[in-house]
Amino acid sequence: MRSVLGSGETATAPESHREPDDGLRLEGLTVRYGGTTALSDVDLHVPRGQVLAVLGPSGCGKTTLLRSVAGLERPSEGRIAFDGVELSEVPVHRRGFGMVFQEGQLFGHRDVAGNVDFALRMRSVGRSERRDTVTRLLELVGLGGYQDRRVTELSGGQAQRVALARALAADPRLLLLDEPLSGLDRRLRERLAVDLARVLDRNRMTGVLVTHDHDEAFTLADRTAVLVAGRIEQLDTPWRLWHRPATEEVARFLGCGTVLPGHAEDETIRCELGTVPRPADCPSGTVRIGLRAAGLRAAPAGEEAPIGQPRAVVRERVHRQDHVRLTVTVPDAPGLAPLEAVTSLDDVPHLDEEVTLTLEPSGTALITET
């Protein structure tokens, strides 16, 4: 996010970013297809050695962003630079950026080694060095000994590992990852995400990852940009995105099913469903509170329930791994949409039973901008 220095200076990109280790810099990047705008005035900076995740719902333009950086898409406006060098006239194959595609896009007519080897041959690396590099890279991605396998025989996870090794073989200045794990099942995805994070970290890679999965983004990236409808809504650390979403869209995308107005004063923030402690960075006055399911804890309403604690009625319940998720309605607040709440597995309320609701600060997010 560019700092606002003065009225005139924000419009044009300053030329002072020509340090050799500047990394990737997007300024005012806009991509239009006919009448639709896929990306709108995107500014991003990825310093060398850092991984940035671009997180967003499908259709938000994140793949377009990645393809523009790779040179596969021509921006309508704005500039893309790496280490201070403008890239608009540099064709894809001369950018030195590696890309891991969503479904691998391996070369079906080559075996595993042939796929990884491809990038090395493009760089005219000698034969014996190529063989050694292929071996090393396959070991790096956990596929040692797979050289002669046909790529059609690989499982989805293995194919993605080969795609990663192939991209790394190009010794890219920047690695672009287009939902590299989205085609895999959940368990494999989690394992591969950890492996991928290790590879990126060990090689001090500069990278851009696009994904719709926030766990993937938070696992792999130092910072995450949330892209909604072609605009960057927020660029922040995982903690800030999770707990201090900049806008209601970001909060909802990151799991806040309900957003309630609140009022911060002294030690607490008060909203319709109760109070939460006021963090130090929260200004006083009107704020909004985003509620995830875990932000509301439901308990059967006994006789001795404290007066003033909101009461609700259970409408649906679903068992999850370590808790029960409820959908409840609050009869006293008919304007409120049905809410998600959690309760422990030990004392599950019945359908239509009355429960009391308690706010759980760890399951809430605070939107302080108004």
């Binding site: 259709g59 793949t63 393809r67 596969l72 894809v92 691998g104 391996l106 499982s155 194919a159 080969v162």
Partner: protein
């Protein structure tokens, strides 16, 4: 120049070329979990809004120069060896007589017969081809590659040979309209069977399973699920078959005996026998209009096909028939028998005349006496040489054209050029051959006496076939695979060499094989251009047919048998090679 013996749109219509015939050329999807390979048209969302142009964003100046030079070469060849001769003939003819032809009732009788026999043949080919398509796509048949190759044999047989085969089958040289319909259908059953089975193989059988589980009987499931899904292939095959049948030449010439005439034979007769050029030119125009209409229908059907359903190849789809499913299998066996009958009849007739069994025809072919200037073996050798030259020429031209077509950024330019390259299909070969004689003396070096003249004409005939075989494969390469290569440091040329050509390699081989076979049997243009001292085998056959005498007839049958064996051998070889290498992917 449209003979029914041009296997042109089979590959095209069969979706992704080789995919239909053993082994998807660009491999299965690397995701082991969802093998949707072989149907790259099916689902390839290439990122947000990328429009599938060849190598987006990666077009340095050298590549633009390639497109310009390549287009110039391709269009130049087409201009000199096709457009110019045809235009010359049309101008020659149109100077007078168009209204006269168009108002003559005779003309419209010929048009009616042309379209009528084409419609009947198309219908018959579809009815006979469907059981075969089912057999190829859904039934576990041992030696399926061989079966597919055998079905393909009639399709590439020279038209004259098929005409003679049906004459042998009927046992008479009397003109017979039904024989024409049967012979045309005989040719084109393979088009239907291969096109439809190509799509059928890739249909997800679970859609039918779903219909069955919802209470549909096997017939109803076929009618409501399978048939609608196959419709694009049926349309595409139907349009192509109709095109072939309506421009059928050799068959009508041999079996129609002057009583049954189509536009194509009428053009030939007027040009060669009556020297009525204006009449021939007027008829050519009429035919061209009809052919363009058929091509347009085929193109629309193809377009629909390209955004077809989610396709997947699945082994589970091939299973032993049960119950009612034996009925189409039985029909398929009957059709196979019917396809074999004329071939067997021809072979028998070549060693059996009224005088009983004898090899007289073959013996006479080896000698140089009689009506032929050269021996049959010499004619066969001429055929092989001309076909070889035509094959490499058409490969050069065709591959170049495909590379240009897939590089063009504007879709409309590409479509237009594609259509232009298909035009030689739609023009009577006779017109082109005659046009050569009228125009080519203007060029430096007397091409008219050059031994390359016949190969040039044949190359023109088979180049559309080469393009239709290779282009769909190149087009079906997922643009993201090229994008992947580009991000790994491959420039546009490198991508062509390292990605496109290996993926299209088998299609190029197939194109070469089929092109060679078609050139071998080409008669319309060759008959015009071959010099008397160097006839090809088909030219020799036509000479023999036109002469009276039992020995000449016997020699013609023997030569037909010879040509058929060479053709069938070549086809079987191509198909076997192809299915052998299918395991590679």
């Amino acid at each position: 120049m449209a003979f029914p013996d041009e296997p042109v749109t089979t590959e095209e219509a069969a979706g992704s070329g080789g995919a239909a015939n053993g082994g998807s050329p660009n491999g299965e999807s690397p995701n082991g979990g969802s093998p949707n390979g072989g149907s790259p048209n099916g689902g390839s969302p290439n990122g947000a809004g990328a429009d599938g142009t060849a190598i987006p964003g990666a077009r340095p100046g050298g590549h633009a120069a390639f497109i310009t030079v390549g287009s110039a070469l391709v269009l130049g060849f087409l201009g000199v060896f096709f457009a110019w001769p045809v235009a010359a003939i049309l101008r020659l003819g149109l100077s007078s007589g168009l209204d006269e032809i168009l108002t003559a009732p005779e003309t419209w009788r010929i048009v009616a017969f042309t379209l009528g026999q084409a419609a009947a043949s198309t219908l018959l080919a579809i009815v006979a081809g469907m059981p075969l398509a089912y057999l190829l796509a859904r039934v576990p048949v041992p030696g399926k590659a061989l079966l597919r190759a055998l079905i393909t044999v009639p399709f590439v047989l020279p038209t004259l040979v098929v005409g003679m085969a049906f004459r042998a089958l009927l046992g008479t040289a009397e003109p017979n309209a039904w024989a024409i319909v049967l012979a045309n259908a005989f040719f084109n059953v393979a088009v239907v069977a291969r096109t439809v089975s190509g799509l059928w193989t890739q249909l997800d059988p679970r859609a039918t399973d779903a219909a069955r589980s919802l209470g549909a009987g096997p017939l109803r499931a076929f009618r409501t699920v399978t048939l609608p899904a196959l419709r694009p292939a049926l349309w595409s095959a139907g349009a192509v078959v109709f095109l072939f049948c309506s421009t059928s030449f050799g068959v009508v010439l041999v079996l129609g005996g002057g009583r049954y005439r189509t536009l194509e034979t009428e053009i030939y007769l007027r040009t060669v026998r009556l020297l009525d050029l204006s009449g021939a030119a007027a008829l050519s125009l009429l035919q061209l209009a009809a052919v363009l209409a058929a091509l347009a229908v085929a193109a629309i059907a193809r377009g629909r096909r390209e955004n077809a359903l989610a396709l997947r190849r699945s082994r589970a789809a091939v299973r032993r028939p049960s119950g009612l499913e034996w009925i189409p299998v039985g029909c398929a066996v009957l059709v196979l028998g019917a396809l074999a009958a004329p071939i067997v009849a021809l072979l028998v007739r070549s060693v059996n005349s009224r005088g009983g069994w004898s090899l007289a025809g073959y013996r006479a072919l080896s000698g140089t006496g009689g009506v032929l200037d050269v021996s049959g073996w010499q004619a066969a050798w001429n055929s092989l040489r001309a076909a070889t030259d035509a094959t490499w020429m058409s490969l050069l031209l065709g591959v170049l054209a495909c590379l240009v077509l897939t590089s063009l950024r504007s879709r409309w330019t590409a479509e237009l050029m594609d259509a232009g390259l298909m035009l030689p299909l739609g023009v009577s070969a006779v017109t082109v051959g005659f046009g050569y004689l009228v125009t080519l003396h203007v060029l430096p070096g007397d091409l008219r006496t050059s031994p390359l003249l016949v190969p040039f004409a044949q190359a023109l005939v088979i180049t559309p076939l080469v393009i239709r075989t290779i282009l769909p494969v190149l087009r079906s390469v997922d643009p993201r695979v090229r994008a992947a290569a580009a991000t790994l440091g491959a420039g546009p040329w490198r991508i062509r060499r390292e990605v496109d050509l290996p993926l299209a390699g088998r299609a190029v081989m197939t194109a070469a094989g089929f092109g060679f076979v078609v050139a071998l049997g080409e008669f319309g243009a060759t008959g015009f251009l071959a010099r008397p001292e160097t006839p090809t085998l088909p030219v020799a056959i036509s000479t023999l047919i036109s002469r009276p005498g039992e020995l000449n007839t016997q020699m013609a049958y023997a030569a037909c048998a010879l040509l058929m064996l060479v053709t069938a051998g070549a086809v079987l070889l191509i198909e076997t090679l192809r299915s052998d290498s299918a395991g590679e992917f």
